[in-house]
């Protein structure tokens, strides 16, 4: 009756070639009647494997809502979301939880580490929850990659904000998820530390082939991404690749 044995149907082989997350006509309405707010008003979007996508847009444009729906933390009012070719919008809580466990990693703005666990134990957490044993070599290379192999026994309270966020990134990478969602991962950090964190995310994509979707309103952060989506009033208004920080800044200026 172990939970971890209940496997999510594995992705069709074809997924390898391209899309890992796909949203189709997704809308999300909060509230009812006159007070209703349409946070998303019909978003159709694909995320290919191994791509680093930034989601930008003015405050209230629906970035977080979109991310939550893509990650199976929220359910669209209409439309569908597929992860690894599997439709998730009609899954029950338990199935969704297991799906997130297997396929999704998270990096939060406020780190969200468990204070009573060491850095290493925090990194192991998703595997612990899944009842899997951490793979020694993978964890070692992770610890090295995030530059924490000398601080593995430290508790979060003994680490700086940047170090905590690096632990959080390693935690997200630990289970080798299909996709990592990061919501303003540099929002609580100073600019120098932010740079380090963005660099780390970039390297995860380049070195480990990790797919990342990052919500941010910082043009510099979006600058490290392969692709930038711009949202306005619940719609994707631009979908650009290879933008410079300056260009992103300019586009944002036109949206606000």
């Amino acid at each position: 009756m172990s939970i971890s044995e209940t496997q999510i149907p594995s992705a069709p082989a074809a997924a390898d070639s391209g899309t890992v997350v796909a949203a189709q006509d997704v809308t999300r309405r909060y509230g009812e009647g006159d007070a209703a707010v349409d946070a998303l008003r019909g978003v159709t979007i694909d995320f290919p494997r191994g791509q680093f996508t930034a989601v930008m847009g003015p405050s209230g444009s629906g970035k977080s809502t979109l991310m939550h729906i893509l990650a199976g933390l929220d359910v669209p009012t209409t439309g569908s979301v597929e992860i690894d070719g599997v439709e998730i919008t009609r899954m029950k809580d338990k199935q969704l939880t297991l799906m997130r466990r297997e396929k999704i990693g998270f990096v939060f703005q406020s780190f969200n580490l468990l204070p009573m666990l060491s850095a290493e134990e925090n990194i192991d957490l998703p595997l612990t929850i899944a009842g899997r044993n951490p793979e020694g070599t993978w964890k070692e290379s992770l610890l090295k990659a995030v530059g924490l192999d000398t601080r593995r026994k430290h508790k979060p309270s003994e680490l700086s904000g940047g170090q905590q966020q690096r632990v959080a990134i390693a935690r997200a990478l630990a289970s080798r998820p299909t996709v990592i969602f990061a919501d303003e991962p540099t929002g609580n950090l100073d600019s120098r530390t932010s740079g380090e964190i963005l660099d780390l995310l970039r390297r995860s994509v380049d070195e480990f082939g990790q797919t990342i979707v990052m919500v941010t309103h910082d043009a510099r952060a979006a600058g490290v991404a392969d692709r930038v989506l711009f949202l306005q009033d619940g719609l994707v208004v631009r979908d650009e690749r290879g933008l410079t920080t300056g260009a992103i800044h300019d586009i944002m200026g036109t949206l606000e």
Partner: protein, 855 residues
Amino acid sequence: MRKLITRGMLTRKLRTALTAIAIMLGVAMISGTFVLTDQINGAFDKIFASSFRDIDAVVTPQKAYESEDETFNPTLRLDQSLIERVSAVEGVALAEGAFDGSAGIVKDGEYLGSTGGAPSFLTAITSNAENTAQITSGGFPEESGQIAVDKKTADDNDIAVGRRVQVATTKGLADVTVAGVFDSEIDIGGASIILATLPDVQTWSDGEGKVSYIQAKADEGVSQAELKSRIAAELGDGVVVETAQESATRQAADINDSIGGFLTPALLAFAAVAVFVGAFIIFNTFTITVAQRIREFAMVRTLGAARGQVLRAVIGEALIVSVAASVLGIAAGYLVAAGIGALFKAVGFGLPTADASLAARTVIIALVVGVGVTLVASLAPALKATRIAPIAALREGATLPPGRLSRFTPWFALVIAVLGALLIYNGLAGSGSLSNRMLGLGVGALLEFVAAGMTAKYVVPGIARVVGWPIERVSRRTGRLARENSTRNPSRTAVTAAALMIGVGLVVFVSVFASGIKASFFDALDRSVQGDFIIEANGGQSIPGAGAIEAVRSAEGVGVASPLRFADARVSIDGGEPGTEYFTAVEPDTYAQVFRTDWQQGGSDELLARLGEGGAIVEQDWADGKGLVEGDRFTLNGVSGRSAEFEVLGFYKDEQLNTTFVIADEGWQRISDSRDIGLMLVDAASGADLTQVEASVKEAMKQFPIATVKSNEKYKEDLSGQLDQIVYLLYALLAMSVIISLFGMVNTLVLSMFERTREIGMMRAIGLTRWQLRRMVGVESIITAVIGGVLGLAIGLIFGFVFTKALEDEGLAFAVPYGTLFAVLIVALIAGLLASIFPARRAARLRPLEALHYE
């Protein structure tokens, strides 16, 4: 500021409610104790008031002193001829004799004596019988051979008017017809009542020509006081004449003093424990919430609130909660009173109760204790709140500054522990009045609990690791997280567990004590009793005298039957202040054959043979205490007023029966006419088949169903069963404390979950299922509960050890009740699981997304 208080409470409704419950339950115990004892007092007031309604004066025998235990003492009676003399007094309209004895009913050969310690009354019918008994069917007995039975006994045993039954009396069985069934005005508890005509009651009670008291009615125009003085003048010395009013008040007060003097403080002690446990929970809850409100308090401080205002905000909240909870608790006291009453009834100690009422004293005490304890318990957290600096408002995750004195905590705990130990030592071995020493003992024990609670945080991680180990084997994923959660705030876990520790500790103590009593008493019984059977009366009554002895002796296969009589009497040594002492009267030749005396100073059974009319052998410890040596003399004053002098012939050690000296039957007869027997020890003739002898003795005793024949084993078994009943009663009374600590555990968990909302959201997001979350909370709760259980076991064993060692002189041995200890741990485990259900469900119901964004 007032807004801050009420807003704070409303936004934390659940926590406020759980705290209130902890206060309420403790207060309910206090209020319930008073309500119940008032009910009992009220019942006896009513019983005596109504039985003397229409009566103006009462004549009773003059007692030499107030016996402490009348069970085995001869009952004093008046000569019937006095009735004539009272009748003849000018102004007496009517004088009649009343007779109170005891008897049970035998229906179809089966004895229906009332259960346990509740009495079976036999009362002679008088002209005012309808004052206390309303006939529901049939009528009052009018001639010899008729009885009336109380409705409860009749209903329970299916006895209807016209039924032929027997009454089991001192003289044996008598055939009677049930003439009527009556309802008693008051709930008489577990007792049964038989009414019969005066001559029948006299005969059955071995009291021909005697009455228990005489009641008189006055002529029109003669006052009670006037009647009293006229009768007193006529009868002179040797009797007590009272107005009916005086007599009713005195008798009710006598009973109420003897019941209330014991019951009220005993129940209040349990209430005190419950309140004490509540105090731990209040302290913990307020400490946690102050910690959770750091930013809020800091914020109002930046807005200009003074420290005093913050203090008032916290204390104000405590005040409001405690007043509301105390009021609810006072009301819930009615339920507690009913519950405890039912509990007593269930174990056979049923007491009569009148309608429940709320005395002003109950309300005042309950309010003062409920509010007072809450305020005291919330003071430390409130003071802590005042030390939050305004700057904390700006800091994420600010924690409370450690108390200025917190590094001295271990020293404080040590001082408290030593103080408690001194009080306990004084209670066990010191001087002062017994009640003061008992109070000191109780306070000392509570201080030890406080000290344990204060230092528990140091052992929490260690115990958690041990307790968590097997759980982590079974449930690796959540077990580890649960253990870490339970130890991340050791003092919080410690105080939560300490609340449970108190109840568990006392349960274990009671259990250790009881098993010590059993072990030592049974051991001594095995050593001293040489016979094969023990005959004892049911429900603390006495075995009818001469007839029963003869019956047993003539039964086939009986070798020796020896009667033991127990009584108390006033003993004076060298004309000193007399004291009441228990003693045994024996038949020396048979006694020597069935009982092995633990002789001291070179004594032997030969001394028994020399007892005669004026010899006594005395218990060594008592003799030492009184400075008695061989050849000394002391005077014995019986209840009847007769006295006799005895000479100390030798010494023995008695660790169990607690009698201070032994005299021979010849000596006994110098101070008493009673032939009733306390116990009979029976030895089968050598070579006889024990089963056959038992059967024949039982057959012989059939006409005295008030007594039961038991093998030594069965006797021990029954005794142990009775002791167990008392132990279970104590467990039940301690259960309230355990239940209160359960609410404390729920409260701590709910508050902790509250704090960890975002963590929970994160874990759910990265794949923790609802079920895993619930299991994690459950394990955390179990760990906390088992820590409480383990601490309770330790402290209970230590208390038990200290107390039994202190009473070693009384023959008490230390014995560990392994079964109970194991059961206690299982109960703690289940308690932990129960406490987690609600908080775990709440946590599992959180939506990950909302939890993640919870501020």
